[in-house]
Amino acid sequence: MNHVAHKDYAGAKLGMWLFLFTELLLFGGLFLLYSAYLSRYPHEFAAAGRDMHVGFGTLNTVILITSSLLAAMAVTAIQRNERRNVLFFLGGTLLCAITFLFNKYLEWSAEIGNGIYPGSPRLIKGPPGESVFYSLYYLTVGLHGLHVLIGGTLLAVVAVRVKRGTVHAGDFVLLENGALYWHLVDLVWIFIFPLYYLIL
């Protein structure tokens, strides 16, 4: 029997929004722990927060915001049927994603070099709140990094489809959803950055 191929745009977007919501809740659990432990160890958190590499954090924030802008521009471009621009903007987004991860790698290497990682001897000897802070930091940022990886892969797949012409001005919900996902990755970072690098 022939299935009438019908695409429900509103449905596809509703589904994506619901999914993004579950992602926020996933991080929500970690933010919940953060707030509970912050109220228990305000001083240790502040001391540990001051040792964070604000430079890396700021750079990565700028990179992610730029990438989000590029992703949004890709969506606009596909509506105008400018395929080359779409690919250009998506490429830019991916480049940002890779730079972000590379920065994270440098930052984590520096931290680990200083003996700061979950379960490290230095943290075990230090004050309890410090160990909690860094464990939460590694888990939250690690989970976020995983999302950067997933989002980047998703956008790469979309780019291939755009190139092949299966995602085009008449049917671009995949690109739109991919960009939405990328904005979520950005949004989560916008919370992580001040919580760990700035306000303490």
């Binding site: 299935h3 432990y37 160890y41 410090e130 160990s131 909690v132 464990s135």
Partner: protein, 539 residues
């Protein structure tokens, strides 16, 4: 009808591009996926029952009977994990939500059919991971299904892998939830207004929201257990500044709402079955629909009642206790509405109805004993005793389990075109109902007397009731066997049934039996409410 109806080309059994096993495990038809879910979850139910019977056998007399303490710990853990994560949470939405909900709203399929198939695959992969954890590494987990730290962070058994499996199954549950919410918003047929949704659909809708909103918290909690074990994160380790209570909060923020994932669809089944067999429109449609949403909402705020003895502040205990009592209100609204539906109905006691009626009784017992646990003072007395075990089996088995059996007798004939025999079904029901009460009522009494849960051994004064409970478990198991033999004999070789054997007025009874692949020849235009029996059989 005859066998040829089963082989009509348009039936979903025949009409597919693929052949053999691939036409099932790669099918995107919601009916085939529903049956896949049915067989896989029900298979795990039977595994769980077997483990439960072993637990009861060990407890038949004091001292070691068939297993030692370590094996007992592993057995109740695996029993709990299998029953909760592999049967009861995915079971109702996955099996009957998939089979029935799209037809009841007049849709051809769910909103994202391929995602639906992917959800089932995730479920299977998760289940395989859980099974692998039993036979590899340090052996089956022994933490209880709650995976409480610090024990779960330290035990040498294969907790990490089991937790990964549960995580995967949880992901599948999220995807099912968002698929169903989107389906119900986007794919209702013309004329299928929100006020005409069958109550089963309302309950699936409420359940889907809980799946979406609560499961991610379980996900992150399980990730944290793995982080504790693999990375030594120390977030729950008091020696390193962490706090085990934090784990309990996170766990129950999901797992209390999860009990509504278990019970809400069951309530939906009951709300659909009772009016059909009372030959009367349901009483208080709006209140039943609204109370599903109210339960889902209020149930998100009561998780602390699992932690009264864990060291919370008195204020927190009072607030959680109070909120727990609030949830009882919408649940009671449902019970009163079902009973009012029965009032002056012309009741026909066929198997689906018997299971539905016993649901009302058993769920009421489970719910009321829940209030004993929800009241802070009495909770201290019965916490972690067999009273708790009795209580939640009344809700989960007496409630959802019996509703599942009701749904099997009520809806599966629609998909197989054949029906079980009535008399053995009633015998099976009677055995199960009797055995069930002997088993779990004894356990509740034992708990009140002080018998702790999760112990393989006990003091001699608990021996008589434990013996009674174990005998009850055998009666229950006997009933289960009769039911299964009768049901499946009937579905494959029994009396053929027509398109509307029960005289129901919801949409699934207006299409041929078994349903065609696309459900509806042409898109239906719904002209009446789901319980308007004067118009039974037409959309």
């Amino acid at each position: 009808m005859t066998t040829d109806q089963l082989t009509t080309p348009s039936s979903f059994w025949n009409d597919t591009g693929k052949t053999g096993i691939a036409s099932w495990i790669f099918s995107t038809d919601h009916k085939r996926i529903g049956l896949l879910y049915f067989y896989s979850t029900f298979g795990f139910f039977l595994v769980g029952v077997l483990l439960g019977l072993l637990l009861r056998l060990e407890l038949i007399a004091p001292g070691r009977t068939i297993m030692g303490p370590e094996t007992y710990n592993a057995t109740f853990t695996v029993h709990g994990v299998v029953m909760i994560f592999l049967f009861i949470i995915p079971g109702m939405p996955g099996a009957f939500g998939n089979l029935i909900m799209p037809i009841q709203i007049g849709a051809r399929d769910v909103a994202f059919p391929r995602l639906n198939l992917f959800s089932w695959w995730l479920y299977v992969i998760g289940a395989v991971i859980v099974l692998t954890s039993l036979f590899t590494g340090g052996g089956p987990p022994d933490t209880g299904w709650t995976f409480y730290v610090p024990f779960s962070a330290r035990t040498g058994t294969n907790v990490s892998l089991a937790v990964l499996g549960v995580f995967t199954v949880g992901f599948s549950s999220i995807l099912t939830g968002l698929n169903f919410v989107t389906t119900i918003h986007r794919l209702r047929a013309e004329g299928m207004t929100w006020g005409r949704l069958p109550l089963f659909v309302w309950s699936i809708y409420a359940t889907a929201w809980v799946q979406i909103l609560a499961t991610p918290i379980l996900g992150i909690t399980l990730v944290l257990i793995m982080a504790e074990r693999i990375l030594g994160a120390g977030l729950f380790d008091p020696g390193r500044g962490g706090d085990p209570i934090m784990y309990q909060h996170l766990f129950w923020i999901y797992s209390h709402p999860a009990v509504y994932i278990m019970i809400l669809p069951a309530m939906g089944v009951i709300s659909d079955v009772i009016p059909v067999f009372a030959r009367k429109p349901v009483f208080g449609y709006k209140m039943i629909a609204f109370s599903s949403i109210a339960i889902a909402a209020a149930g998100s705020l009561v998780w602390g009642h699992h932690m009264f003895t864990s060291g919370m502040s008195d204020t927190a205990i009072l607030v959680f206790s109070f909120l727990t009592f609030i949830v009882a209100i919408p649940s009671a609204i449902k019970v009163f509405n079902w009973v009012s539906t029965l009032y002056k109905g012309s009741i026909s006691l066929e198997a689906p109805m018997l299971f539905a009626l016993s649901f009302i009784l058993l769920f009421s017992i489970g719910g009321l004993t829940g209030l004993i646990l929800g009241a802070a003072a009495t909770n201290i007395h019965v916490h972690d005793t067999d009273f708790v075990v009795g209580h939640f089996h009344y809700v989960m088995f007496g409630g959802t389990g019996f509703a599942f059996f009701s749904a099997m007798h009520y809806w599966l004939p629609k998909f197989y075109g054949r029906k079980y025999a009535e008399k053995p079904a009633i015998v099976a029901w009677a055995l199960m109902f009797t055995g069930f009460n002997i088993l779990y009522f004894s356990m509740m009494v034992l708990g009140l007397k002080g018998m702790p849960r999760r112990y393989y051994d006990y003091l001699p004064e608990f021996a008589p009731l434990n013996l009674v409970a174990t005998i009850g478990s055998w009666i229950l198991a006997a009933g289960l066997i009769v039911m299964l033999v009768n049901l499946f004999r009937g579905l494959f070789w029994g009396e053929p049934v027509g398109s509307n054997p029960w005289g129901g007025a919801t949409l699934e009874w207006s299409i041929p039996t078994p349903p065609p692949t696309e459900n509806f020849e042409e898109e239906p235009v719904v002209t009446h409410g789901p319980y308007d029996y004067t118009k039974a059989g037409v959309p």
